[in-house]
């Protein structure tokens, strides 16, 4: 009991984070740095006269990302609950702003928002904000999730707004990820399958309509379905990307020896997986998949063992976010999917993506910390009586009293 009491001291209430997850992510960021350098050196030299231009910037972002991840992993995720709405509101506002013409056009889409010298991509943050909000909301609604008006409609509406804003940018990939996240979390939280399927069908109809009656999307779609014919125009990028993957064959051309960077636009951002494929081959891609598998698996493990449902939902949502993002990115690069505009988390060049992913990972890591003792009673969000009851129950059973576990903490 003495030891237990010592754990009550501030800062010692939580156990160690998931070291495997943290290590894998840090390694992935480092790997990303290497690949960004390899993929960007030509463009950096040609456009900026400095072969290290993107490497330097990405390096700074990587350091920042590590710091953000560290801080977020120390920041008790429960304290995020009151921040849910402000964050969601802010992100929505930024999205609206970027759509409303303040956006900085990049690659034909108004995806960027300029704040001083920094270009922010609000859609990256929107995904995390949506997960936080869904986790918060689903946790609060509990059994009422099954209802339509309370469990389904608000979530779908909110997600719908963000999806529309995404499409307006236009960022079709981002919209798809947001939709997938919403359905995934609603599904997990126990929403009725009927509603979900209905909404899914509606969404599919909407997506079809959006593609069919937006000329540029439809053209891109046609081009994607007949890549060889459009290899010089609309399907240039996916074609080049597929060529990059293919020329990697099994073992790849070797780090830094890829030559498709000369042809593949955005090779260091959205299409970095193509360069990984070219330089490291199928083996490299398998390794990359394995790394994301570990991240998602550890994330789901965190979700399963989280202290409360909020933690579980958020952890699961973030894991799915990483997984889906990585899968969609690679599918797009392999021209399995027709869309574009998604980064490969932790690897692609880009400050917004890296910092947001790092923050999300920090939250996940914080959730992964075993709660060894009661949460502070004075915590504002636990003012509700049931919260303290939880704490009491936990401490009564004294799960964390395992001496070995305490020592490890």
């Amino acid at each position: 009991m003495k030891m237990l009491r010592s754990l009550f001291a501030p800062g010692a209430r939580v156990g160690a984070m998931d070291v495997v997850l943290a290590a894998v992510v840090v390694a992935l960021i480092g790997f990303g740095l290497v690949m960004v350098y390899s993929a960007s050196v030509v463009e950096a030299t040609a456009d900026f006269g400095n072969p290290h231009y993107f490497l330097q910037r990405h390096g700074v972002f990587a350091l920042l990302a590590l710091a953000v991840m560290f801080v977020a992993s120390r920041f008790d995720y429960h304290k995020l609950r009151p921040l849910t709405y402000p964050v969601l509101g802010l992100v929505t506002l930024l999205m609206v702003l970027s759509v409303a013409g303040f956006g900085h056009t990049g690659g034909g889409a108004a995806r960027w928002l300029r704040i001083g010298p920094i270009h922010v991509q609000p859609s990256e943050a929107a995904k995390v904000a949506l997960v936080l909000w869904l986790g918060y909301s689903l946790d609060r609604k509990r059994e009422r999730v099954k209802t339509f008006s309370i469990g389904m409609l608000p979530h779908l509406l909110m997600a719908g707004v963000l999806v529309l804003l995404c499409m307006k940018q236009p960022d079709f990939g981002g919209a798809a990820v947001l939709l997938f996240l919403t359905f995934a979390m609603l599904f997990v939280a126990g929403a009725r399958l009927g509603y979900l399927l209905g909404a899914l069908m509606l969404g599919a109809l909407f997506a079809t309509w959006a593609i069919r009656f937006t000329p540029y999307r439809w053209e891109r779609m046609l081009a994607w379905s007949n890549m060889a014919e459009h290899r010089q125009d609309l399907a240039y990028q996916p074609f080049q990307s597929v060529m990059s993957f293919g020329s990697g064959e099994i073992t790849g051309l070797g780090l830094g020896k890829g030559l498709q960077v000369l042809y593949l636009p955005e090779s260091h951002t959205d299409f970095i997986s193509a360069i990984i494929g070219e330089e490291l081959g199928f083996i490299g891609i398998l390794g990359l998949c394995a790394v994301y598998l570990v991240i998602v698996a550890r994330g789901v493990r965190v979700a399963l063992s989280a202290e409360d449902e909020y933690g579980s939902y958020v952890a699961f949502g973030l894991s799915v976010l990483f997984g889906v993002q990585a899968l969609v990115n690679m599918s797009v690069a392999m021209a399995v999917l027709p869309t574009k505009g998604l980064t490969l988390p932790f690897v692609s060049y880009g400050g917004s993506s890296l910092l947001v992913s790092a923050a999300a990972m920090g939250i996940l890591l914080n959730i992964s910390r075993p709660r060894l003792g009661p949460a502070p009673l004075a915590a504002p969000y636990t003012a509700a009586p049931e919260a303290s009851a939880t704490v009491l129950t936990e401490s009564t059973f004294g799960d964390g009293a395992d001496p070995a576990e305490g020592a490890r903490a």
Binding site: V42, G108, I250, L262, L327, V336, T393
Partner: protein, 704 residues
């Protein structure tokens, strides 16, 4: 987190329900979603397998094809140098602007294409000062490559660069500035007909440029290079063939100084005598090297479009003409070599009229008995005909053939004619033999004449003419080098020397070529004034002549053979009057150039030369005297004798700067010079006695 597995089923609704029995469904649903994700992962991996392992080689090949697009490399055309290494023809890169319309319009949605094209066209047109509609049409044609504007200025290049870099409004893609080769002849007209010109397609079309096009051009190669998506060459994979990058350089035997003199003198004489054309050849008889090959009228190959074929023709090798009396050299040589005449022998020249069959041959200087030397000096047709007839038609023909007439010299230039010895394609009849012995009824080129004369000059060996001293690669390695090439021995050394001695008489008093004589040298030569056949009547014209002179200096150990031919001179037509002076001036220049001092001249002491009265001074004084001007009144210290450290200033008026300076320094005064030309005023005035070391103002004015 397995440690929590053993925890009692906590009925705490506030805890994590998911871990409890109640959360079983949630865990299952999570599992389902994880399954979906796993399915996606499987899909990606299998797609990767298909793409990278199954189809990998195919894609790799495709990617390699794409980046290793073989590009045609147009090697830089070789440079043509004269014998001292001055460039006569170089290739310069002139920037030209082209457009990749596909690149410009890439990513532009179809409805916006016209707007974007018009906007880009306007901006490009402004940068290049061309018609916007034209540019717009080129953009909308969507060709991957098209010229926008060729041979642009540096300002236009800069404007285009700004457009392409986005420094001037929004960036316009697909603009390409590349160097387009353009042949440039820095010496302009110099040796124009010899060098020829290069058409815009990079092929030499005339002269040397045509004859040695293959070597100059290099080998346009299919080069394996790496290109990026805008088509820029990143690096090449190395070229085995050095000619793929640059053609070979030609080093000519031509000397641009001699060539210039030859052209200048030829042009002068051609203009003075209103000739229709002419050519001058300077050959080194010792090795057959062509030092100059001038053809008038010439043209500027930089501006070849403005020239006529008449101007472009290299008359020295293309034009075959009836040589006339110069041929007598070779008739006499043939006679001496065959032994039908002796050097000391005299021939009876029939007092100027001789009939051969139905033709009467006349001499301009009727004579009775003439030595061989006199026959040449007075250019007797009759006696030459006698020698030819004594030899017989076949022997004379063979002999002339041995001198190289009637066959091409093999100079590496296009369009060389061989001349004709037997115009009717059958052995000569007697009249033809007689005519041929003094150069009628046959045709030769100037170059044949020069090489044949060189054979006399060098002791009897017919050499092949050498125009290209060596061919080197762009990096200077010698590809081939010419050497003295003897075609055959024509006459013995003794005969050649005897002939050379005889030919000296031509340029001495009483000879027809007195105008060719050069002070201090013994010049061997022969004049010719050949009537031209009128193409309308087929008879010899009374107005049209070819005046020519062949010769070499010095008569012993000659350094240059000079052949001058002036076609259809108008004012005067005698070879001795028209062509011989050209020979003299060109030969004089070559001698000076070669540093040969005139035989029997004493070296002049420089100091003495400086003391000689300046002709300008004398002229000035004479003019002044003629105008009755009195010398200016001298008042300052005119009287008296200069003291120990004093000098009396002389009158410098009318002196050139240099002489006045030298003189004043010698006197020990300090000159202060202003102006140029001849001395107009001096202070103190002439006759003044000044201290040594004092300043004397010397004011010069340009001579009027």
């Amino acid at each position: 987190m397995s440690r929590r597995r053993g925890a009692a089923p906590a009925p705490a609704p506030q805890g994590n329900r998911i871990r409890t029995e109640a959360g079983k469904w949630i865990r299952m649903r999570m599992g389902v979603l994880c399954g979906v994700l796993g399915l996606g992962l499987g899909l990606v991996v299998s797609a990767g397998w298909d793409l990278m392992v199954v189809d990998g080689p195919h894609w790799r090949e495709l990617a390699e094809k794409q980046r290793q697009r073989r590009l045609r490399v147009q090697p830089k055309r070789g440079i043509i140098y004269d014998r001292s290494g001055s460039a006569l023809a170089v290739t310069v890169e002139v920037p030209s602007v082209s457009l990749d319309a596909n690149e410009l319009l890439r990513g532009v949605p179809a409805p916006q294409v016209p707007v974007v094209a018009r906007d880009a066209a306007n901006r490009i047109a402004r940068a290049l000062s061309i018609e916007p509609a034209l540019v717009e049409r080129k953009i909308l044609a969507k060709r991957r490559w098209t010229w926008l504007h060729r041979q642009v200025t540096a300002e236009q290049v800069e404007a285009i660069r700004k457009l392409a870099a986005g420094e001037d409004g929004e960036r316009i893609r697909g603009l390409i500035v590349e160097g387009e080769p353009r042949r440039f002849h820095p010496r302009r007209e110099l040796a124009g007909p010899l060098l020829g010109f290069v058409a815009p397609d990079g092929k030499g079309k005339d002269g040397l440029e045509y004859a040695l096009n293959r070597e100059l051009e290099g080998h346009p190669d299919q080069l394996r290079g790496l290109r990026d998506r805008s088509g820029r060459l990143i690096f090449s994979e190395g070229i085995a063939d050095d000619q793929a990058l640059a053609g070979h350089d030609l080093h000519l035997t031509l000397d641009q100084g001699i060539q210039y003199t030859a052209e200048r003198e030829l042009a002068n004489v051609a203009r003075t005598f209103e000739a229709s054309g002419g050519s001058v050849l300077v050959v080194d008889p010792n090795n057959g090297e062509l030092l100059a090959m001038a053809s008038w009228p010439g043209y500027n190959p930089n501006d070849y479009r403005k020239s006529s074929p008449e101007q472009r023709r290299n008359r020295a090798i293309v034009d075959a003409f009836e040589p006339g009396s110069t041929m007598k050299i070779f008739t006499v040589a043939a006679g001496l070599a065959a032994g039908v005449i002796q050097p000391t022998q005299k021939l009876y020249c029939e007092k100027g009229v001789m009939a051969v069959d139905n033709v009467v041959i006349r001499d301009t200087h009727p004579a009775e008995w003439l030595s061989l030397t006199q026959i040449l000096a007075q250019s007797s047709n009759i006696c030459s005909a006698k020698i030819g007839l004594a030899l017989g038609g076949d022997a004379l023909y063979e002999s002339l053939r041995r001198f190289g007439f009637g066959e091409r010299t093999g100079v590496e230039l296009p369009g060389e004619s061989s001349g004709t010895l037997r115009p009717r394609g059958r052995p000569w009849v007697q009249v033809e033999t007689a005519a041929a012995s003094f150069g009628q009824g046959i045709s030769v080129t100037n170059l044949q004449m020069a090489m044949a004369t060189a054979a006399i000059a060098n002791g009897g060996e017919l050499l092949e003419p050498v125009l290209i001293r060596k061919v080197t690669t762009a990096s200077g390695e010698v590809v081939r080098q010419s050497a003295r090439q003897v075609r055959r021995r024509v006459v013995s050394k003794r005969v050649a020397q005897q002939l050379a001695e005889m030919l000296v008489a031509v340029t001495e008093d009483g000879g027809t070529g007195i105008e060719a004589d050069i002070d201090g040298y013994r010049v061997a030569g022969k004049t010719a004034t050949a009537q031209k056949t009128d193409p309308r009547t087929g008879r010899y014209s009374l107005d049209d002549y070819v005046a020519s002179f062949v010769g070499f200096v010095p008569a012993k150990n000659p350094v240059a053979v000079v052949v001058v031919t002036v076609d259809e001179p108008r004012v005067d037509y005698a070879g001795g009057a028209v062509a011989a002076p050209v020979f003299r001036r060109v030969a004089e220049m070559v001698l000076r150039y070669r540093g040969l001092t005139p035989a029997g001249t004493k070296p002049v002491n420089l100091e003495e030369l400086a003391r000689r009265p300046d002709p300008a001074h004398a002229t000035h004084a004479a003019l002044r005297a003629a105008r009755g001007e009195a010398p200016p009144v001298q008042e300052v210290q005119q009287a008296g004798k200069p003291g120990k450290d004093q000098v009396r200033l002389p009158d410098f008026t009318g002196w050139p700067v240099r002489a006045a300076l030298r003189q004043s320094v010698e006197l020990g005064v300090r000159p202060e010079v202003s102006g140029t030309g001849l001395l107009a005023r001096q202070e103190p005035p002439p006759g003044a006695i000044v201290d040594k070391g004092s300043a004397v103002k010397l004011i010069f004015r340009p001579a009027s």
